[in-house]
């Protein structure tokens, strides 16, 4: 029973089925996609358990032998945890987009195709196929944001205003276009990196990652190939200069799309940097580590500070995603066991957190039709449930012990302190503090204080359907905060198998 193939392709299958369904059947569309999401989620749990008791899943099928391309899926510790994350976020996303009115069938089809791409990248061993899945994951974003998004004009200001005047900055078409172009630009670099690695072997090119891991690439190749992969995947993971698509993209995207995008797609980028960049090009990674770590630390502080100054709720959370992804890359750059464990765990923790955040913001936006924080106030009276969930997600993002956010950040800080760049830890810890500042400030301004609910007529708490997503994600945050070993154990096993290649010796 090819479990991994089923996980990857069940959303795609559902998408095909959706195509066939008659136009008006709202319920059957949603049920089919929920069923597909549930199948993937359940099977990813099976994959995790199979990995834990020793026989990880592996499926291979030679596709183009002459070019060394084969359909080979393998689920190690990292992939199983990230599969679980994708399953959860997809399941919650399907629930959260229950109220999509306009052309909901196409919405669900694109959402499912996107998640197939994501599932594919996490378990694929073949670089060529991985790149294919990567593109499948990125391209539907354009349509999803362009058609179902929402726009908020941003007046062009500052020295480069002339350049911004010809685009309607902040609009959904602008956001969709910018997001897709920047990510495709990144993926072009990735392709160059992959091809550089692939035809190193004599004769036929070799795309299988495990085979490439055994090849010792010449140092010069690693020196230029690694930054390509870092910038390519990094632009998806929100590395500093290439992160500007994230605020606009997430702010204009509909709820479920920004849940999936911030929650899972950004992890694709970070996963790519570590799994492909660092594991296959160790010397390059070690040489460029100061840069990766430095920019990641900048990311953390930069994201936190700019989040603090935003007045639009979705922008606050988009910038916080940039900041938390900085923590992930910082953990990766430390090249220590703790750092890597922390980085992958932060991917999981932040995925769940941001998923919940965007689900809540979607609920608030649906009822208040405004994302402008200063004009909101006292929503706690009308929507106590949402207020509590928002606070929980906020606490996890600021790293309160007992939530998943703390464990991840603690491990990354420990990794940073142990690595030979202890200085990175200072901006990271400061960033965590600033996260506390802007999260609680936003919570207070929206949910507490005297009720301004009169100019928001139909404010109401989350209804039955929407509770599923919130409860599921909230439970995940607390469960992995109180007992992190559930996810940390498989991650640790895989880190131990990868790290010696980098440091030559397993640090203490």
């Amino acid at each position: 029973m090819p479990i991994l193939t089923l996980i990857v392709f069940s959303p795609l299958l559902a998408a095909v089925v959706l195509m066939v369904l008659p136009e008006r059947s709202r319920i059957s569309i949603r049920v089919t996609s929920l069923f597909a999401a549930a199948v993937s989620l359940a099977l990813s749990i099976v994959a995790l358990t199979r990995f834990l008791d020793g026989n990880p899943l592996r499926e291979t099928l030679p596709l183009i032998p002459k070019l060394g391309i084969s359909y080979s899926l393998y689920c190690d510790g990292w992939s199983s945890v990230l599969l679980l994350l994708t399953g959860i976020i997809l399941f919650a996303g399907c629930w959260a987009s229950w109220t999509v009115a306009k052309r909901d069938r196409e919405f669900y089809v694109l959402l499912l195709v996107l998640s197939t791409g994501v599932f594919g990248v996490f378990v694929c061993l073949d670089l060529f196929l991985l790149f294919l899945f990567y593109e499948i994951a990125v391209l539907p974003m354009y349509l999803l944001i362009g058609i179902w998004g929402s726009s908020k004009r941003i007046p062009p200001k500052g020295p480069l205003a002339f350049a911004m005047r010809i685009f309607d900055v902040g609009g959904r078409e602008y956001a969709a276009m910018k997001l897709t172009l920047m990510l495709l630009g990144g993926s072009a670099l990735i392709l160059v990196g992959i091809l550089a690695m692939a035809n190193q072997g004599a004769g036929t090119p070799e795309f299988n990652m495990e085979a490439l891991a055994r090849v010792h690439f010449p140092r010069e190749l690693q020196m230029w190939a690694f930054p390509l992969l870092w910038i390519g995947f990094g632009s998806l993971a929100g590395v500093w200069p290439f992160h500007t698509w994230s605020p606009d993209g997430h702010a204009s995207a509909p709820t479920a799309v920004s849940m999936l995008h911030a929650g899972v797609l950004m992890k694709l980028g970070a996963f790519g940097v570590i799994r492909i960049g660092m594991v296959l090009l160790p010397e390059g990674a070690q040489a460029w580590a100061p840069w990766v770590g430095g920019i990641a630390a900048l990311n953390v502080i930069y994201g936190a500070l700019s989040a603090m100054a935003q007045t639009d709720l979705k922008y606050v959370i988009a910038y916080s995603s940039v900041s938390h992804m900085g923590v992930v890359l910082l953990g990766a750059a430390t090249m220590t066991t703790n750092g890597w464990n922390g980085a992958v765990f932060q991917m999981f923790a932040h995925g769940v957190m941001t998923g919940m955040f965007f689900a809540l913001v979607g609920l608030v936006y649906e009822r208040a039709h405004s994302r402008d924080i200063p004009s909101m106030g006292g929503f706690g009276k009308m929507m106590p449930g949402v207020a509590v969930c928002f606070t929980l997600a906020g606490l996890s993002s600021l790293g309160l012990p007992g939530t998943a956010g703390f464990v991840a950040e603690f491990l990354v800080f420990l990794g940073a302190w142990e690595s030979n760049h202890a200085a990175w830890m200072v901006p990271a810890v400061l960033g965590a503090f600033f996260t506390a500042v802007y999260v609680l400030r936003a919570t207070r301004m929206i949910f507490w204080g005297p009720s301004k609910a009169e100019n928001f007529p139909h404010l109401s708490d989350a209804r039955g359907v929407e509770w599923v997503a919130l409860l599921l994600l909230g439970a995940m945050i607390v469960l992995f905060g109180v007992w992190p070993a559930l996810a940390l154990h498989p991650i640790d096993i895989t880190t131990m198998s990868f790290l010696p290649r980098i440091t030559g010796l397993l640090p203490h």
Binding site: A163, I166, Y302, A309, M425, G449, S451
Partner: protein
Amino acid sequence: MNLHSLALAIPLLPLAAAAIVGLVRPIGRRGGLAATISIAAAAASLGCALLLLSHTAERFVLKLPWLPVGGRTLAEVGLRFDGISAPMLVVVGTVALMVQIYSVGYLSDEASGPRGRYFTWQSLFLFAMQGFVLSPNLLQLFSFYELIGLCSYLLIGYYWEKPSAGRAAVKAFWITKLGDVGFLIGLLVCWTQYKSFDLAAIEHAMTAGPAQANTWLLPALLFCGVASKSAQFPLHVWLPDAMEGPTPVSALLHAATMVAAGVYLLVSTSFLFAASPVMGEVVMYVGAFTAVFAALQGCVQNDIKRVLAYSTCSQLGLMVAAIGAGSVAAGYFHLVTHAFFKSLLFLAAGSAIHAVHTNDLREMGGLGRGMRWTGVFFGVGMLALAGIPPLSGFFSKELILASLEEHPVALVLGLATTIMTPYYMGRAFLLAFSGKPRSAAAEHPHESGWLMRGPMLLLCSLALIMGVFLWSFADTIHEPVHLEVTSIGLLGIALALAGLGLAWVFHGPRKTVIDALPKSLLEAARSSGVDALYVFGWRHVVFVFAATVSFFDRYIVDGLMNLIGWAGDRAGDALRRVQTGRAQDYVLALFLGLLALVAWGVWGG
């Protein structure tokens, strides 16, 4: 019922209560039911604590691996029961139970819906506090430390409709989080220096292992955490604002337990501070200075709860100073006695506020006649705090003064505090309970019901007889303590009486003087610069910096991306003009290409 399950029950019972009341909507909605559940859990937890107190001989530590790293365990989670944690468990349990019972009466006139939320947070706080007391390693101490901060944030913000309450709650969380940043960095330093977070392991490594290089770093960072939660000098600004919360919350958190968590942290890691004398000195002087500074502030406040808040801050300063000077027993015992009489004072003040519906001393006056019980309780608390002999305050204060003997500067500061404390407490007592009533509500205040007076009665009796337990307390925490009559001791008593006299002189029943100090000095003292510093720091430094970073990101970095787009657009436009539409231009281009090719063919490569 072996000891392990008893110890486990202490934190888990309140957690269970919090979960039931919090998650099960129907129970949460009915205030009364929620109250009974959480009080029952608190009582059971206190029962276990008392049982454990009886045989503190068996010290045991339970451990469970929590975080794996490279196959081994990075950190464990578990319980530590020994001489140090036993008394604290009892103190926290008692005060929490009393406050919860008291809150039933105090909140009776409010809507019953939110009370479910109130008792959830109360039980959650009790779980966090007991978990903190029982933590065997620094990481777990830190985790529960922040959970306590969360509960204080939630409880201060109980009246969240009031904007000032919301702001105070967030301010409290931020400043404690700021201190915790230091604590977090301390954890990292601890891991690199000792390769473990376990307190016992660290102590063993320090004594047996190689001498560490800079032993002062870890204690310094830990002290940051202590300073924030126990409101020491630079980080104390959140405590007075925390009075926005309901009074029982102030009694529980901001008098007895939460603020004492920092001191308890000092007590349980005292071997680290002992290892670096420099750090000891720093801690002592910070503590002493905080004591005097807060006491001075206390003298000029007109809000009864703020007077008590500054007094707590000052007493904490004394405890920290004592521990810094090396005598853990003095600090710890003062913590225990202070927990009882300060929570008593808060509850009494609460019942007074409950009667006249205002915190302002200027609108109180002559409540003693109408509220006899509350007057007596407040009086006993005031005397205990002032350090008048038979009461418990006297013993712990004498111990502290004794511990400060070798450090003249700290001693002077300590003595200054011992004279100011009775003055401001006397003033508060006289203004509130004696003299002529100064407002309509103060004319005929109604005494609060038994639900409120019962807990106060128990705390009052504890405040009276606690001094006797000094010696049994001393040997549970295995610290030698000797209290004899010394010149410093007598001076302490004299100063206490002098302080009370001063209060009587200025604010006696016949006098109508509210503020003894001249107006200008009053304003200067009241508007303490530190708070303004924080506000300035936030509004003009952090927020401006954040705004510039956000502007930079939106209009420069993002602007550059748009510039690339714009350049692409312009380049496309320029290229468009090359296609002129005239056939001859194209033929010309054709021939130029031909020429170039032929030329390259003839002379080129």
